[in-house]
């Protein structure tokens, strides 16, 4: 199994099963830890487990299909992917994958199928039923023996068959799963801890369902769990054990402190002494978790490390040599704080975030409805302008989610004139002045409602629905029904020519040479666009809503019923829901992405996979960040500022005794590779002429993190360094792994070699005797690339090289080459 993320406190089970509740999540979790289970339901007697109740082959109680038979089939593995749960089935029997389609499963089991050995279900002679003989391996069964003769499993199935093999007409609703203990803290050498699971149904019934659950560990280097739910410690660290039953998924934290003897060392930090404020709160919550794990923290990073880290993370840009020197000479105690504030005011901050928002929302030139480059740049710029003005995140998202081509009160003619004006060579009207950004919806990849549903859920909610396209999501409550109903929200969006605009559109289309196809209209080609550049109005297709013939009630991702009717915008109820305080996804997904952009990993990781089986490594911290972001009116700058001014973010990457193993609790900074665009821009900056350095750093038109982003999409350099194509709905598309080809690229790609050959800095130095300036030039080379002064040894080694070089310029070129090929250059550390 792939490693899902690290973990800590568990998610409130009410949230996990999709119910709304008014208690603050934090409070809920704290309380729940204490009084596990007694919160919600009047104490009814908990039914004993099936193990005991069906120990005998006969008895009064008949097992229930949903509560007992279906989970049993899951538990013994019948409906797994490689068995009867595969889409082809196995041996003629097909069950729903992970078993949540009770109708289909009953039909599969009770189908009138038989082989020489007997009928699948034999009502006359239940013992002879194939669904017993096969798993007992009394007849040939590819899947082997699944349970023993005389076992409760056999008797459960037998009594179900004898009781008429009845299905589930109206599925019962699982209110919550309760798992005891609610948290496990191990010491080395501890014996296994058995879990007990109680299912609480909405009618108040409670049952011990431990033998019917499936269990999974999220990291088997920390803890393992047996089929029967016995948790054992393997090594120090923390993870979660996940319990699955019916539609319920519950994670419980399991941890084992690191070396029990090494006392916790809190090395403090720059912000130490600042006992209040958001950064201190972040530190407090991180330290809380570290204390539990007995993990010491690394000391604060140095000023040069801080500057490089902050400039790269906040603006995607290397600091300039002058900036490094100024920062090192700044005696002010608050220099780091001031630097962060200054960086966040730079256009590059907005540009780097615009690039990230483009990643999250899928801005891909190849998928635009027309004019891939132009449309993508408009998309990017629309974000950029809003970020520059630090508009709140919810406002920005609303402008995307509720986008329509025509602004309020606009006629189609006004709209198309306005759109055309955005391309005028003279006095162009800024596209980014538009209230909304419809390009998100007009992409070719968004035209099918189910594709739009998947993209939307991943982009704004951090939910991966795609599993539910074909089967119930294995790690989340989403069923195929949930997915299909969500897709219906996007059915009435249309990109083309609205009925009231058809005559005008046709007229303009024939006048300008747009090949129009009825109500679909036609794309604006580069030829037609030329007319707009000259000032003509050309016909643009538009995003509009068609009217629904009859109203329909659909469920909004298990949260509430919504009536879709007429031409009311179905995206409005989604947006309203996203903005509600109790929405479990919208804010959480974004703050987690912001965190992930500042560290090597999200609190939930992968950051776009929020599901109950993938709990955060620090629930208290994630909840706090959520609350802080809401309180600060979704101010992105303020959130990122709180994070980067924390001691946690400012720790050195160098481990101290005892924390080298920690890669999920932030006891030190973990180095990351520079993203594709940043490497591209950094190499350019490192070699630039002194008087061009500022321009290279700030002229967004020439930066890969800026407007060049779209033009570079798909080029070799970007492919090699993992710039996302933004073709699929996954944050994982941006790949910051290191590869052999990247090293080949930095050592010898013409792009790098030519940059060095054409280095403006080296050109400036040409034609004069440099030998007297070597020490200063060496320092400059270090500042340009590694953003720090060279050490004495480094200075010495570089000097040796320069002195042995045939030409000074060539020696310096070698030096630049060597420096951009160091790990220190390539990594954010």
């Amino acid at each position: 199994m792939m490693l899902l993320s690290p973990v800590q406190t568990f998610r409130c089970p009410l949230t996990a099963s999709g119910q709304q509740h008014s208690l603050r999540r934090l409070l809920c979790c704290m309380l729940f830890c204490l009084v596990c289970g007694s919160l919600t339901v009047e104490a009814q007697e908990v039914q004993r487990s099936v193990e005991l109740r069906f120990a005998d082959s006969v008895g009064g109680e008949v097992p229930d299909f949903q509560r007992h038979v279906s989970p049993l089939l899951g538990r013994v593995g019948c409906n797994g992917r490689n068995c009867h749960g595969s889409f082809q089935g196995k041996g003629g029997l097909r069950l729903s994958l992970f078993g949540y389609d009770f109708q289909m499963d009953l039909e599969g089991l009770t189908a009138n199928a038989q082989s020489r050995a007997g009928k699948r279900i034999d009502h006359q002679r239940p013992h002879q039923s194939l669904i017993l003989q096969k798993p007992l391996e009394q007849v040939d069964h590819e899947g082997g023996q699944r349970f023993a003769a005389g076992s409760w499993q056999q008797h459960l199935l037998l009594r179900w068959i004898a009781g008429g093999a009845k299905g589930t007409s109206e599925p019962a609703v699982l209110q919550e799963l309760q798992v005891k203990p609610a948290e496990i803290v191990f010491a080395a050498g501890d014996i296994g801890v058995p879990l007990r699971v109680t299912a609480v149904w909405s009618d108040g019934e409670q049952e011990d369902v431990t033998p019917l659950c499936r269990f999974r560990t999220n990291d088997d280097s920390v803890a393992t769990v047996s089929e029967d739910g016995v948790v054992s410690t393997v090594g120090p660290g923390d993870t979660h054990i996940i319990t699955f039953y019916d539609n319920g998924i519950l994670a419980i934290p399991v941890l084992r402190p690191f070396s029990a003897t090494a006392g916790l060392v809190n090395t403090g930090g720059v912000a130490a002494g600042r006992a209040q404020g958001p950064s201190a709160e972040i530190d407090r919550l991180v330290m809380q978790k570290l204390a539990k794990l007995n993990l010491p923290t690394s000391p604060p990073c140095s000023d040069v490390e801080f500057l490089r880290r902050a400039t790269l993370d906040l603006t995607g840009t290397l600091p300039s040599p002058a900036e490094v020197q100024a920062f090192l000479n700044d005696p002010g105690e608050d220099r780091r704080e001031r630097k962060v504030d200054e960086l966040m005011q730079r256009p590059a901050w907005a540009a780097w975030w615009a690039t990230r928002l483009c990643d999250f929302t899928g801005c891909n030139p190849a998928q635009q409805a027309e004019l891939g480059q132009e449309v993508s740049v408009q998309w990017y710029t629309w974000f950029y302008e809003r970020l520059r003005q630090n508009r709140p995140y919810d406002e920005i998202v609303s402008g995307v989610v509720l986008a329509r081509s025509r602004e309020a009160g606009q006629s189609w003619l006004d709209y198309t004139a306005r759109m055309s004006a955005a391309y005028r060579e003279q006095d162009a009207a800024a596209f980014s002045d538009r209230e909304t950004m419809p390009h998100y919806w007009t992409r070719r990849s968004m035209q099918k409602p189910d594709a739009a549903a998947q993209a939307f859920a991943q982009n704004f909610l951090g939910i991966r629905l795609q599993c539910a396209e074909c089967h119930k999501h294995p790690f989340a409550p989403w069923t195929q029904g949930d997915y299909q109903e969500f897709a219906q929200f996007f059915e009435t969006l249309k990109f083309g020519v609205a009925p009231d605009a058809r005559a005008d559109y046709q007229r303009l289309a024939s006048a300008t040479g747009v090949r129009s196809n009825g109500s679909d209209g036609g794309p604006v080609t580069p030829e037609v666009l030329r007319r707009a550049r000259q000032g003509d109005t050309i016909p643009w297709r538009e995003l509009y809503l068609t009217a629904r013939e009859s109203p329909r009630t659909v469920r909004l991702l298990r949260s509430r019923d919504v009536v879709l009717q007429g031409s009311a915008d179905p995206r409005e109820p989604i947006m309203e829901w996203m903005l509600e305080e109790g929405n479990p996804w919208f804010v959480r997904a974004f703050v987690n992405r912001v965190w992930a952009s500042c560290f090597h990993v999200g609190l939930v990781d992968p950051p776009d996979d929020l599901n109950p089986a993938n709990p955060p490594s620090n629930e208290a911290l994630l909840s706090w960040l959520e609350e802080y972001f809401r309180k600060s009116r979704m101010d992105i700058r303020s959130l990122q500022r709180a994070i980067v001014l924390s001691d946690t973010w400012q720790r050195s990457w160098k481990p101290v005794a005892g924390n080298a193993e920690d890669d999920r609790n932030f006891s030190r900074m973990i180095p990351r590779r520079m993203p594709a665009e940043v490497i591209y821009d950094s190499v350019k900056q490192a070699v630039a002429a002194a008087d061009r350095t500022e321009e290279v750093r700030t002229d967004l038109d020439r930066r890969a993190t800026g407007h060049l982003s779209m033009r570079l999409a798909g080029t070799y350099a970007m492919q090699v360094f993992g710039k996302p194509e933004r073709a699929v709905n996954c944050d994982c598309e941006r790949d910051n792994k290191s590869t052999l080809l990247q090293t080949v690229f930095l050592q010898n790609d013409p792009l790098v070699i030519d940059r060095l050959l054409e280095s403006g800095w080296l050109l400036e130095l040409q034609g004069r005797d440099l030998s007297a300036e070597y020490p200063a030039l060496i320092q400059e080379a270090w500042l340009r690339t590694l953003s720090r002064p060279a050490s004495v040894q480094e200075q010495q080694r570089a000097l040796e090289h320069l002195q042995s070089a045939e030409e000074s310029i060539e020696g310096l070129r070698d030096l630049l080459w060597a420096l951009i090929n160091t790990k220190e250059f390539l990594l954010l550390h």
């Binding site: 199994m1 792939m2 899902l4 992917r81 990291d219 280097s221 920390v222 660290g237 594709a451 998947q454 993209a455 991966r464 599993c467 790690f475 090597h600 996979d609 481990p655 193993e661 890669d663 973990i670 180095p671 590779r673 070799y716 492919q719 090699v720 194509e725 073709a727 699929v728 996954c730 994982c732 598309e733 790949d735 910051n736 792994k737 290191s738 590869t739 052999l740 080809l741 990247q742 090293t743 080949v744 050592q747 010898n748 790609d749 013409p750 070699i753 050959l757 480094e794 080694r797 570089a798 090289h801 070698d814 080459w817 060597a818 090929n821 160091t822 790990k823 220190e824 390539l826 990594l827």
Partner: protein, 425 residues
């Protein structure tokens, strides 16, 4: 080598598809080091970009009405019952070595999507990017340390998708051209750089790169870098890799055997790379998108070029005894319309196309699959690009049902819907 338990677990989890989940790190490293000796399997993917007219290349319909059958006549080949286009006489004489696969069918008559489909064996979706075959080979059969595993001659084709950039191709950036120096992106040293100078730079870099000393094994992002850096140095400085890319080492006679045209030079380069130990090479022959003037384009240029260079590659691999270890697939992204259009061209048509499969354990001298009388669609159910992919991978020695744990968080079967074509291997 110091390594954390967690990391060990992670690495072994990463390798599940290739080596099974139970192996230890030392086994893994050994396997990595030895893979060059374990097997000499390799593969070439010749992509006829643009969509060659199936009925004018390997699936002629002489009995069809004139507006369908076009201008070309079939000729007999060295294999009984196998006929191909008259403009492929050299290939006709070698028909015992390859299998013609007809009646491959799909529904993506768009260059981008069709290409993506035939290069990955998976129907493109907006949810996940599938890896090109070469990336799978890079992962499963890495080349020796001083050679790239996967070389894409000219521009890069489909990428590594969910396998990650680690397994992406080294793209040469341009085609080798006869009589001109060939600069391979990333491999060839620039004219301003000598090997000695490069060595001294590399030494300088090693001496200066000390910030992470003692911590090399600590974090994922740092860990690979030294090894990659060393390997990049080996590739760039090694005689073997430089010579593999150096076409001036070929005799004039050999150059002429492959042809002086770009495609001939690319095929010669591909052959040299395979001989040197590169695992996977892609070669492009584009221009098949013949909406107009189909017959002149094919008859005068594309078919003769293909005929000459592919035959030369076959001969050379035979002579070197490498045919059995080299799997070759020749295909476009779709076929072309059954009826010739008003511009003596044919338009996109994905309901039928043909491909060639040879080398490895392909049973040559046969035709598999068929189209109907006017080459409009498969006779019967036909094959899909998925089947073609499964067969190709099988022929390379990679199980098409291999499962990977992708970062999207679910297991993915390499070729989910295809089955290796019966009777082919």
């Amino acid at each position: 080598m110091e390594i954390s338990r967690r990391e060990l677990f992670r690495r072994s989890a990463l390798q599940v598809g290739a080596l099974g989940s139970t192996c230890t790190l030392s086994q893994l490293l050994r396997a990595e080091a030895n893979s060059g000796q374990h097997s000499d399997r390799s593969a070439v993917f010749v992509f006829l970009g643009g969509g060659p007219a199936h009925q004018d290349t390997f699936d002629l319909k002489p009995e069809a009405p004139a507006e369908y059958r076009g201008q070309f006549r079939p000729i007999r080949t060295s294999a009984a019952g196998v006929e191909i286009c008259e403009h492929l006489p050299k290939l006709a004489r070698r028909a015992d070595q390859y299998a013609v696969i007809r009646g491959i069918t799909h529904s993506l008559a768009d260059h981008g999507l069709g290409t993506r489909y035939v290069m990955t064996g998976n129907l493109p979706t907006p949810v996940i990017s599938y890896p090109m075959y070469g990336c799978v080979v890079s992962r499963e059969l890495p080349a020796a340390a001083d050679l790239p595993s996967f070389v894409s001659i000219d521009r890069p084709v489909e990428g590594p998708g969910y396998l990650g950039p680690e397994f992406g191709p080294l793209s040469t950036g341009e085609k080798p051209r006869f009589g001109q120096p060939f600069r391979v992106r990333g491999i060839t040293l620039d004219d301003t750089l000598t090997l000695g100078k490069y060595r001294s730079r590399f030494q300088l870099r090693n001496d200066l790169d000390t910030a992470f000393d003692q911590y090399e094994q600590l974090d994922e992002s740092v860990r690979g870098l030294d090894r990659f850096s060393e390997q990049a140095y080996q590739i760039i400085s090694s005689t073997r890799s430089r010579e593999a890319f150096d076409l001036t080492l070929e005799s004039g006679q050999e150059v002429d055997r492959f042809g002086r045209h770009d495609f001939g030079q690319s095929m010669l380069l591909a052959t040299r790379l395979i001989e040197a130990g590169v695992r996977f090479v892609t070669v492009l022959l584009e221009g098949w998108d013949t909406h107009q003037d189909n017959f002149n384009t094919l008859g005068r240029q594309l078919l003769p070029d293909l005929d000459q260079s592919l035959s030369a590659m076959m001969d050379r691999l035979q002579e070197a005894g490498r045919m059995e270890s080299t799997a070759i697939l020749v295909t476009g992204e779709f076929g072309r319309t059954p009826k010739v259009n008003g511009n003596a061209g044919r338009d996109h048509w994905s309901r039928a196309m043909s491909s060639l499969m040879l080398g490895g354990s392909v049973r040559g001298g046969q035709v598999l699959g068929a189209t109907d009388a006017r080459a409009e669609g498969p006779a019967g159910s036909g094959y899909t690009p998925d089947d073609l992919a499964a067969s190709f991978l099988q022929n390379i020695g990679i199980d098409p049902k291999t499962e990977y744990q992708a970062s999207v968080g679910r297991p993915i079967t390499l070729i989910r819907n295809g089955e290796s074509i019966a009777g082919l291997l």
